[in-house]
Symmetry: C2
Subunit: 352 residues, 2 copies
């Protein structure tokens, strides 16, 4: 899945180049490229299907020249994860009715890649025979209030680290998050899923019949030259709804594979800050030169081969991309989404 | 005089476009253009001579298309104000031995332009007959520690507002500046001078014979096609010295015309801040769009049709030009000069 907008990272991410397409850590590979690199030892390129917004077709072809165009599914509208996953499942089932699907976001960081691939391998074994939905739960390492949590139930025999899911919870407040952490029963909801194509389509029929109905109508077209036309006409009618809300929170055959894979969803500047190498003063530099005097715990993410000279900043984001410059306290980063809306209201699309 | 470098305003000013060439106030006219505009009612374009560094020939022609190329004297090296003034005096004397010269910096702000022209008119009357050097002293309105001060002596009869100079002083500390202000005897040294060509050349012979000797050797060339060649060969030999130090502090025929002309030398971000229109929060915006949240007393001087979104900045300079971004407390702006040197040491000329 690589169709998101990522306005939380404005102006580091922009409308035409959201987070997944950025070389986030200055390593020469975008988060999307890193996601593909990470699974290639396990899943060959011809079995990697990308679902994205039609407007990103060009940048994906540019970043992933080895993925053939037929493997890139272009959504004609933004409809959250549920329609995306339903379409992809139909598409894949048309190619292989027995297919097992690993569903991954393309804008996460995973540091322990070997562990990660091992987890996927064991997870695929678990879902390939029966009608099971598996999500990956990360062992929490802090009382993070930015993630949803999964409460684990009874372990599944013969599949180490896999449990029945007792409940999904929304993002907790700090007090609750601390209780979750201490209990040992709660795991971070990673948004990564494994299931067979059949199992997830069964679940759509049962728990999200509206979405299921829209995509079931196209069964004769998936995997054919008519698929695109069917999608372009019908996809926009699908409700905009997340897979968690549409399926995972309702289904009774949901399991969780608990994992320790050095994971971050990079959903915030704070997350970027925490996962990035820092200098002695705790400053993070992305893609620019920085001469900082008396600056602490500040992220400098400035595009375009620039020099930043700064003094006296503590806990700041300094981010620039093209014609927009942001200088904002990291602690107030939750306001940035609204700022971007305000920018759009006032100036149109010029700066977003 | 328009050959200065202006590194204090880096990166707002850059090596190839120092302060005098910038549209400082976003009015559509650079400080140099404003300087010429300001004196045109008094001095016709054909009598305006510009002395600048050879590297600025292009930008001057671009900004001042009505000044003919022969009126632009191009220094082959940077040598402070004394050689500049000595050469210009020779050049002008060759065109008109009786000429009276008004010597002006090109990067100052003058708000009361009518007063200013009246002051120049009265000053020219004062210097045209006798061997007198006249400087313009500004009535101080605060105990400014960034300016030199002129102590006035006895008034000159028949020339209102003109006094003999008792002494020049270097930039005082705050305590001293307060005493100066209260005394009523001290005026800010503006760096603007009036004299006849003859008078200033006499003074050079007497007080700065080294400079005088270098330029006297070219008397046969001034105003001829050979002038450029003579200058290119000999100008670099002149000592780098200011006119204050070479002449004004030593000569015994120095007078001051006291004036109230709404003057600032714009020598600092603080000065720019003080002389610029501010919004309700005391923020100054130069050449960019700004959405500021909880920012106070901050200057946003960002080039290139950009949007700046900022929060929590108080008393800051946010300046960007081309590939350099500065975020610095105004109160520490005296460090910027050193920062620019450090930038040059570390990165060469790329960012300066």
């Amino acid at each position: 899945m690589c169709g998101g907008v990522g306005s939380r990272f404005w102006p580091f991410s922009r409308n035409d180049r959201p987070k997944q397409f950025l070389d986030f850590f200055g390593t020469g590979r975008s988060l999307l490229q890193m996601t593909v690199d990470r699974i290639l030892p396990l899943i060959p390129a011809e079995n990697i299907i990308l679902v994205t917004n039609a407007s990103y077709a060009g940048i994906i072809r540019e970043q992933l020249p080895d993925i053939r165009p037929g493997n890139i599914l272009l959504e004609p509208a933004r409809r959250n994860t549920s329609p995306c996953i339903c379409w992809a499942a139909h598409h894949i089932k048309a190619l292989d009715p027995e297919a097992v699907i690993v569903t991954l976001p393309s804008d996460h960081l995973i540091l322990k890649e070997e562990n990660f691939r091992q987890i996927l391998k064991e997870g695929m074994d678990f879902v390939k025979q029966e009608d099971r939905l598996l999500t990956i739960g990360l062992k929490p390492i802090s009382p993070h209030t930015g993630y949803g949590y999964i409460q684990i139930g009874r372990p599944v025999e013969d599949f180490p680290g896999i449990c029945k899911v007792k409940s999904f919870t929304e993002k907790p407040n700090l007090e609750m998050a601390k209780i979750f952490l201490e209990s040992g029963e709660f795991y971070w909801n990673s948004g990564m899923f494994l299931w067979s194509a059949k199992a997830i389509l069964n679940a759509f029929n049962r728990y999200d019949p509206e979405t299921a109905g829209i995509f079931d109508a196209g069964c004769e077209f998936y995997g054919t030259p008519q698929e695109k036309d069917f999608i372009d006409r019908n996809f926009p009618d699908a409700p905009s709804i997340s897979i968690d809300y549409a399926i995972m929170e309702k289904a009774d055959n949901v399991y969780v594979k608990t994992a320790d894979i050095g994971w971050s969803d990079l959903g915030s500047w704070q997350a970027l800050y925490e996962t990035s190498p820092k200098n002695r003063e705790g400053n993070v530099t992305q893609g620019c030169q920085v001469m900082a005097n008396n600056c602490k715990d500040t992220v400098f993410a400035v595009q375009g081969d620039k020099l930043v000279v700064a003094a006296g900043l503590e806990g700041y984001i300094v981010a620039e991309n093209d014609n927009a410059l942001l200088i904002y306290p990291i602690a107030e980063e939750q306001k940035i989404r609204q700022v971007v809306n305000d920018v759009r209201d006032r100036f149109g699309e010029k700066y977003v």
